[in-house]
């Protein structure tokens, strides 16, 4: 078996064992729960739109908090040196850590499955957008995790890793809210850069390869950036 799997296992166990993980999960569930159910009964519609519309914003600060320790902690403890002198490649390390972050976020999303279940009891829920929304959430989580890992690979300070990761994720999320500042010729380009735009497309239940390609590209660029940062440290 590839060493990436063992790195994944170790990192995932480290998540499960650390108190920060549970704090992040609680904060995530509190915020999404509050913002989902507060307008829910006012709108009186059986859908999860308010949950998914907010998700990119919430992910923008929750995911960098999840990923900030992945490299920064290793740098500051010094265990990076022991890791790097084991027979593993940069790619295996990055992939192992990336998968651990994704798996942890997937675990974090599991309790939110209660929302569609409750809603489906209260009214006729259209499951298409829900499935699309969760698929989009996983893709978004992957892309933001890659960005967070890149931020973490830049510094030994977890706070800095968190802030840098959050800044990049927020910019990606908010970029299509600022489109009215831009000249018309550049509109399409910047719209394409926005994570929120692609996520909302998928969350409507329309699965388009362009949107999937966007998340895969952001993920790939983030992980490649982390690879470059590791190479720089040699």
């Amino acid at each position: 078996m590839s060493p990436a799997i063992h790195i994944f296992k170790r990192e995932f166990r480290a998540y499960i064992a650390s108190p920060i993980a549970y704090i992040v999960i609680s904060v995530f569930l509190l915020i999404t729960g509050w913002f989902f159910f507060t307008p829910f009964f006012l709108q009186n519609q059986a859908n999860l739109r308010s949950f998914f519309s907010l998700l990119p914003m919430v992910f923008s600060f929750v995911i960098p908090a999840v990923t900030m320790r992945l490299f920064s902690e290793e740098f500051s403890v010094g265990s990076y040196e022991t890791l790097m002198t084991l027979p593993v490649t940069f790619t295996q390390i990055i992939v192992g850590k990336f998968l651990a972050a994704c798996a942890f976020i997937a675990v974090m999303l599991v309790p939110t499955l209660l929302y569609p279940l409750t809603v489906s009891v209260l009214g006729a829920l259209d499951w298409g957008p829900v499935v699309g929304g969760y698929l989009g959430a996983l893709l978004l989580a992957g892309a933001f995790s890659a960005v967070g890992i890149f931020a973490s690979s830049l510094t030994r300070n977890q706070i800095i890793a968190f802030i840098v990761g959050m800044a990049i994720c927020f910019s990606l999320t908010l970029i299509n809210q600022m489109l009215f500042f831009l000249p018309k010729s550049m509109l399409g380009f910047f719209e394409y850069l926005g994570a929120d735009y692609h996520f909302q497309n998928i969350a409507k239940g329309v699965i388009d390869t362009r949107d999937i390609l966007y998340f895969v590209s952001v993920g790939f660029i983030g992980l490649y950036g982390a690879n470059l940062a590791m190479r720089e440290k040699c």
């Binding site: 060493p3 063992h6 790195i7 296992k9 170790r10 166990r13 480290a14 064992a17 650390s18 403890v77 010094g78 265990s79 990076y80 040196e81 022991t82 790097m84 002198t85 084991l86 027979p87 593993v88 490649t89 040699c234």
Partner: protein, 312 residues
């Protein structure tokens, strides 16, 4: 077994290791000595594939650092300085993780972990988290980590730094036990340790090798003379000089006592390989001087180290 040629490493513009070359034979225990900042750790980090050399070549068996770094990492066990391990892991889990990454299968994994726990004396702490351990135990876990894949080459960066005297003795014993079969490279700035455990010593200063050889050859090549110190009462300097100067091997006799003191303190410088203590004693016995002190000093490694590495 290991061939290092013209190894150089820059950090930005600072040259940490400056064109060092050496060979290490199979089964040798090599001690890398040098003051802080001399380039010991950087050299070891390049040997283990953690840092890339700026220029120069490292060959381990038939593998070269660069294209075959991964193969070399499979063959080297490395204990970095102060054993940086994952603090939140239980010792057993940690060793299991290392065994898995090293590619040990389930059955050999278990027996290897048990074997290493025995060898490194870890049985009592197997179920504690690494962060709770004392420095000595952490160092032992690090040693077990380095030995996991039964490597042919073991690289230890200051394995005894920060340990108390008992722990130092224990770690040293483990190293000596392992060293009977393995090639070991260790860095240290404790000279007595290098003298006690290493077959060969390389002294680095400012990134350059300033001495290389066994303790004996380094002492000899330092070219310093042997000296005899005498303290005599009821004697005068000119009388002593007249008596001892004709002895073969004596190059110089000096009075080194503080002026005004009762006893006469004499330093006799000899050619390096002469041992004339018997002759001197016999001559002194014939006189009516009182011999208070008589000692011979060879250059200690400490002295040589200081001379080679002192600034200016």
């Amino acid at each position: 077994m290991i061939h290092v040629e013209n190894l150089t490493r820059y950090y930005d513009n600072f040259c940490a290791v400056d064109g060092i070359s050496f060979d290490i034979q199979k089964g040798e225990i090599l001690g890398l000595l040098g003051p802080n900042g001399a380039g010991k750790t950087t050299t070891l980090r390049m040997l283990t594939g953690y840092l890339e050399p700026s220029t120069g070549q490292i060959k381990v068996q038939d593998y070269t650092i660069g294209p075959d770094t991964l193969e070399i990492k499979k063959r080297i066990g490395y204990l970095p300085e102060s054993a940086p391990l994952y603090h939140d892991m239980i010792v057993y889990d940690y060793l299991e993780y290392i065994a898995e990454i090293r590619g040990l299968d389930a059955a050999p994994k278990m027996s290897r972990i048990r074997e290493l726990a025995q060898l490194c004396g870890l049985n009592a702490v197997m179920h504690k988290t690494v962060g709770e351990l004392s420095k000595g135990y952490k160092q032992r876990v690090g040693l077990a980590h380095a030995l996991m894949n039964d490597p042919e080459i073991l690289v230890l960066d200051e394995p005894t730094s920060g340990l108390d005297p008992n722990q130092i003795v224990e770690i040293r014993e483990i190293i000596r036990k392992i060293g009977q079969e393995k090639t070991i490279i260790l860095s240290t700035h404790i000279l007595s340790e290098a003298e006690a455990t290493c077959d060969r010593i390389v002294i680095i200063h400012h990134g350059k090798i300033v001495a290389d050889g066994s303790t004996q050859t380094i002492k000899q090549s330092a070219g310093k003379d042997r000296m005899i110190y005498l303290t005599l009462a009821d004697a005068d300097f000119s009388g002593v000089r007249g008596l001892l100067e004709p002895v073969a091997g004596v190059t110089r006799i000096e009075n080194v006592g503080a002026p005004g003191s009762d006893a006469l303190q004499i330093r006799i410088t000899l050619v390096s390989d002469a041992d004339i203590r018997k002759d001197i004693y016999r001559l002194i016995r014939q006189t009516d001087w009182t011999l208070l002190e008589f000692r011979q000093e060879t250059q200690s490694l400490e002295h040589i180290f200081r001379e080679l590495t002192l600034e200016n």
